[in-house]
């Protein structure tokens, strides 16, 4: 069974902390994505990557950065966490064809206090 694994289900961090959210996929997919989900706003794309060491900004990249040193791993970094970054964060991967959509991880619920 193919999988996208996010390292933490729940995280509580303090304002100003540097936060790392890790995502690993075992499907040898080229493409990986980070979304955040907020009520009434759906899923919004933060960053994506089509290859190792490659990254592209999505719709809401401010306050975030990413790292993709290996094909299977895509990390989201909050350089200095703020309360407006409290959200559900979802990692996804895809092989390129959209016929079967993206495969999502279970999500990380991040609370910044």
């Amino acid at each position: 069974d193919v999988k996208v694994t996010q390292s933490s289900r729940y995280l509580v961090k303090r304002t100003g902390e540097k936060v790392f959210l890790e995502c690993v996929q075992d499907m040898d997919h080229e493409n990986m994505f980070w979304y955040r989900q907020d009520p009434g706003l759906g899923l919004r794309l933060i960053y994506f990557s089509y290859d190792v060491k490659m990254k592209e900004k999505g719709d809401i990249p401010e306050g975030y950065s990413v790292s993709r040193e290996k094909k299977e791993r895509f990390s989201l970094i909050l350089e200095s966490a703020s309360t407006n970054q409290t959200s559900m964060y979802l990692c996804a991967s895809s092989e390129g064809s959209l016929r079967y959509g993206y495969t999502f991880g279970s999500g990380t619920r991040l609370t910044v206090v």
Binding site: R9, G42, L90, Y100, G101, F104, S106
Partner: protein
């Protein structure tokens, strides 16, 4: 700028009846449309997709209809089951740039 809109935040139907979830989009360049289902505390899971060259795709109890002239798609679930209760996201893509709607919470009552 919401290019994909789901105007109904919630929908409640009786078990055995049809559920119809609607989605509108604004970008005529979208070439693939998808529906995802999401249970609480889980990531979205892919449900069904349709290419822009088709107007209908069916998979078991799930059928997606695409009306390109109206920039509208819908998901029909027949018959609805209590296990279908979840949030459903509509998504549209152009060259792997995928946009999601805000979601519709479906409740199927026994």
């Amino acid at each position: 700028d919401q290019q994909v809109k789901q105007n109904s935040p919630s929908l409640s139907v009786q078990e055995g009846r049809i559920s119809i979830l609607n989605c509108d989009y604004t970008n005529s360049m979208f070439d693939y449309f998808l529906w995802y289902k999401k249970y609480p505390a889980e990531g979205p899971t892919f449900l069904i997709s349709i290419s822009s060259i088709k107007d209908k795709n069916e998979d078991g109890r799930f059928t997606v209809f695409l009306n390109k002239s109206a920039k509208h798609l819908s998901l029909h679930i027949v018959p609805s089951q209590p296990g279908d209760s979840a949030v459903y996201f509509c998504a549209a893509s152009n060259n792997n740039d995928m946009r999601f709607g805000a979601g519709t919470r479906l409740t199927v009552k026994p």
